[in-house]
Symmetry: C2
Subunit: 153 residues, 2 copies
């Protein structure tokens, strides 16, 4: 976790986005807690801070049992900053980190086809992510999974 920030800062940011369900927020809190207590964690948390406040963050990690694949688990951007490029900047930050670690690789993002995620999917597409496929009803009735990926060189 970046210096000087607490789990509560990220949880509060996630809640404020309006995109995290109660269950997702609980999972985020639990995973951030696990990361803090595990120096061997393979998860990475990068953020955008302004005037001491976390405006957004990206949480990602190396995909187990792959050589060079990374999964982006969450990108969160406070509501007043949405649609103004911060999501793309956080994604670029994650990609720079991955390039710095592995030189090249594949980044995967899984998301929902629900309309709440329209803006997020546009960010991925603008950032060069391509759709790998979909699974109907994955998250629930009428709520499909869409899988994006990008090769990093």
């Amino acid at each position: 976790m970046p210096d000087g920030r607490t789990i509560a800062d990220y949880v509060e940011t996630a809640v404020e986005t309006g995109a995290f369900s109660g269950e997702e927020t609980a999972v985020l809190e639990e995973i951030l807690g696990d990361c803090l207590n595990n120096p061997q964690t393979t998860y990475v948390l990068l953020d955008a801070v302004e005037d001491g406040r976390v405006e957004g963050f990206v949480f990602f990690g190396r995909t187990p049992m792959t050589r060079c694949c990374w999964d982006i688990y969450w990108i969160a951007v406070r509501s007043h900053r949405q649609g103004r490029g911060l999501g793309g900047q956080l994604l670029e930050k994650a990609e720079r980190y991955i390039r710095g670690r592995d030189g090249s690789g594949v980044v995967r993002i899984e998301t929902s086809t629900r309309s709440e995620y329209d803006a997020a999917r546009r960010v991925y597409e603008r950032q060069g992510y391509r759709e790998a496929g979909r699974i109907p009803g994955f998250y629930g009735q009428g709520d499909d999974l869409v899988i994006y990926y990008r090769e990093i060189r």
Copy 2:
């Protein structure tokens, strides 16, 4: 874990299949250990035993933050039983379990396009799994991810 069996039984079965890398075997051993020590685990292990020996197993679990999706993480079948229907039977066993728990749902299997997995992919396809998509170079150079799914009713 089914009564009377030990982690070592499953690890030995996995090694004997010839399909598990050293890293995968280590991850399997670690996860089975975590499951034993965590009564709240959401992972499920079902097996096929003959004359007291584990001939194959399937390891799966509910996909976090979905209502009704399950991921099949591993299906292992001893080499002398491969190509004789046991993989399909284990998959059916997992599906019966899921149907019993949730009534209906979506099952996902992620695997590699490498030729070592040709037979496994044929098992999935025969069992009614459809390809959702692929990610090039996911597991490594020239080693793509292929994602299968099946709706269970």
